[in-house]
Symmetry: C2
Subunit: 418 residues, 2 copies
């Protein structure tokens, strides 16, 4: 394996040249809250852009409008809020998103179609626009470099930490950067029902190439993670490329491969951080399936194991339970042959040819006490493979997600629901 | 709706004429245990038989042998054990099943192919044959009427109660009975990884008709339940018909429709009992999808909702969270149109046309405190429907399933594993 041609640097979503940001506290969840909950990222130069959105048939108002804007052209400003997903809010929800776009556009001298909106939080309640709308001008006027961390803080919800990353590499003597911030949830920390990832680069990349790259990148990062199997109504990953570095990149041209690798690194690293920070999670588990007859079968098996409540419960208990793993392999796969299946847990053989391997169970147990380990499943039916990053299932996760009463009570006080 | 033409009576698996049974305590889990764990049901007359088995690609040794016996002819004796699933045990597992069949056949003067075997318990450990084998003759010699309840006790594992049912109806002045016992688990109480249901009738029914009936019946009962989405390696439902009542039934002949209804009642009632007795479960929830464009879409949506960790966690908290329900509808369905979806919870409108209904949230909450309620989802896209019976997900479920150490430690002492 050759060495990376890019390096990770301190920073986040506005680390690349030509991006400014700001965040304010509107009290979206409740008026007395003081945490940041509304953020804006803006490219001071025109940018090309790409977006990947949830495939859930129920789509939040912000997803509908943002995907429409991306389909028609490019966006260069992204306004994002936490505390409310603006999903299942009907016409009111769409009007609220359009109002946000209109005000941001007015303040920044853009067309409303150049603005994307991301929301994350509870489903089914209208946005408290009486608290958001009056703050947008202030949000725009305070845009500045060096406020990327505030954005990372404003978009998180049940996450326990901000997720920021930036990388740098050189092309023809000039530096190119990619910066990103991200929030968990999505299929992961479901109380909030949203995954958001923003990525900004100062390379110039043509729209078509940028979009192809983001689609492929998300397929191999965010689409490979699961905490609870629940796909959100709001999942959004946006990538902006504004050319402020003076470097123009294109497939086959110098620097392109490095850019692709660096972007993939950013996406995969953010995806992994989302998993590690899953709600009330104690284990980070890589489920790697190889020897599958085709990629679809490898994916079915990996996801089946990663989503099994029984398997995940056993990981929580530090139990190297290969019997539960193979039972999930058997119901998830369509072409699995039990007598060929090998399973390694944390590097030790747990199952060979469908039956118990010789490894002493105490050795397996000791390895599964670690906070991170890999489960390797070889189907011995072909050469296809697939990897999923996932977690255990804890009693605390269920407890944490038992009720959203507090939200609804506040919404009632706000006159947003009965 | 016309009145039922059958009545429920006291009794269980041997309530129909011509069936005897017995159960003993072998200490399958550990030598010192005293609970019943090995059972035998036997039709004193030749019987036709039908079986439905797990569709998991990983199949326990007993499922392989029993399904083979049913494919080749009819069985009239069923030996069943709890405490060990005999799954993923390779050639040893198959030999053990054949040994059980051979001894039972010898004792009862049958061919080994007339014996079916059911096992339920931990996956991946060989059966402790040193404790089972010597007890089979005694099991056979003690066969008697009136011991059905012992069978119901012997096959349960993490179930909190026996599941027995019997029904009776008359055809041309003669009484016909159907009796059954059943154990939970299967997709449900996964620590044990098995669902077993035995049904015995004293009607005479031709093999082909009997098998068609059982397949259709299971499709509308056991295949409509889910606790944790985990399909077992051992699921087995067996139906024996021995004609001891003197009543011969066939499609189109007197009594056939009543027999079909009575059998369906028995299967559905057993399936519901399995759900109600799910591990650490506090709610019994009926998820009914209607207005679907076809049955497959109705099934996808109903199962998606019934399997969502988020939705199930909210039920555990008594939270009438329609937002989480519609988000699962959206990712499970392929043709769902958000703006058409109506959701009623416990008889009250929670969502209309994809947005919040007018029902005060306190009214919804009050209804969801009940131990049983229905979630009705109308997609307004057609006339197909599907119903799934399911439960909440509790912190206690996860806690209960964290570890099977005790089993493995005992197995090590027994010399069955390292």
């Amino acid at each position: 394996m050759k060495a990376r041609e890019f390096k990770e640097i301190e920073g986040g979503v506005t680390s690349a040249k030509g991006y400014v940001s700001n965040a304010v506290s509107c009290g979206i969840k409740k008026p007395t809250a003081t945490r940041l909950d509304l953020a804006l990222v803006y490219s001071t130069e025109p940018a090309t852009s790409a977006g990947v959105f949830t495939t859930n048939r129920v789509r939040a108002a912000c997803v509908r409008v943002s995907s429409d804007h991306i389909r028609r052209g490019d966006v260069r400003a992204v306004i994002a809020n936490s505390g409310n997903a603006n999903a299942c809010t009907g016409k009111v929800g769409l009007e609220d998103v359009r109002t946000e776009c209109r005000i941001v556009a007015q303040e920044l001298g853009l067309s409303p179609k150049e603005v994307a909106v991301c929301s994350t939080g509870v489903i089914g309640l209208p946005l408290p626009m009486m608290r958001i709308e009056p703050r947008i001008p202030e949000l725009c006027h305070g845009l500045d470099v060096g406020k990327g961390h505030k954005v990372a803080s404003a978009i998180i919800t049940s996450d326990t930490r901000e997720k920021e990353i930036a990388v740098s590499f050189r092309v023809g003597g000039k530096e190119v950067r990619i910066g990103s911030c991200c929030k968990g949830a999505g299929m992961i920390s479901p109380n909030m029902a949203t995954m958001i990832c923003l990525v900004c680069t100062d390379a110039a990349v043509e729209r078509a190439a940028l979009r192809k790259l983001l689609r492929a990148g998300v397929e191999q990062s965010f689409n490979c993670i699961t905490i609870d199997g629940d796909m959100s109504t709001n999942d959004t990953c946006l990538l902006l490329a504004n050319g402020a570095s003076g470097v123009k990149l294109a497939p086959g041209r110098p620097g392109w491969n490095t850019f692709c690798e660096a972007l993939q690194y950013v996406l995969l690293e953010q995806a992994r951080r989302v998993v590690r920070d899953g709600e009330r999670v104690t284990k980070f588990v890589t489920v790697r399936v190889k020897g599958a007859p085709d990629r679809a079968e490898a994916k079915r098996v990996a996801e089946g194991v990663a989503k099994s409540s029984l398997v995940k419960s056993s990981w929580n208990g530090g139990d190297p339970n290969w019997g539960r793993i193979i039972h999930a392999v058997g119901y998830a796969g369509r072409r699995v042959r039990e007598e060929k299946v090998d399973i390694d847990i944390a590097g030790l053989p747990a199952c060979r040819a469908g039956v118990q391997a010789d490894t002493p169970s105490d050795d397996l147990r000791a390895r599964v006490q670690a906070p991170e380990f890999e489960v390797l499943i070889n189907l011995h039916l072909g050469r296809a493979q697939y990897t999923v990053y996932t977690t255990d299932l804890s009693p605390e996760y269920v407890d944490f997600n038992r009720s959203e009463y507090a939200y609804w009570n506040q919404a009632k006080q706000d006159g947003l629901t009965r």
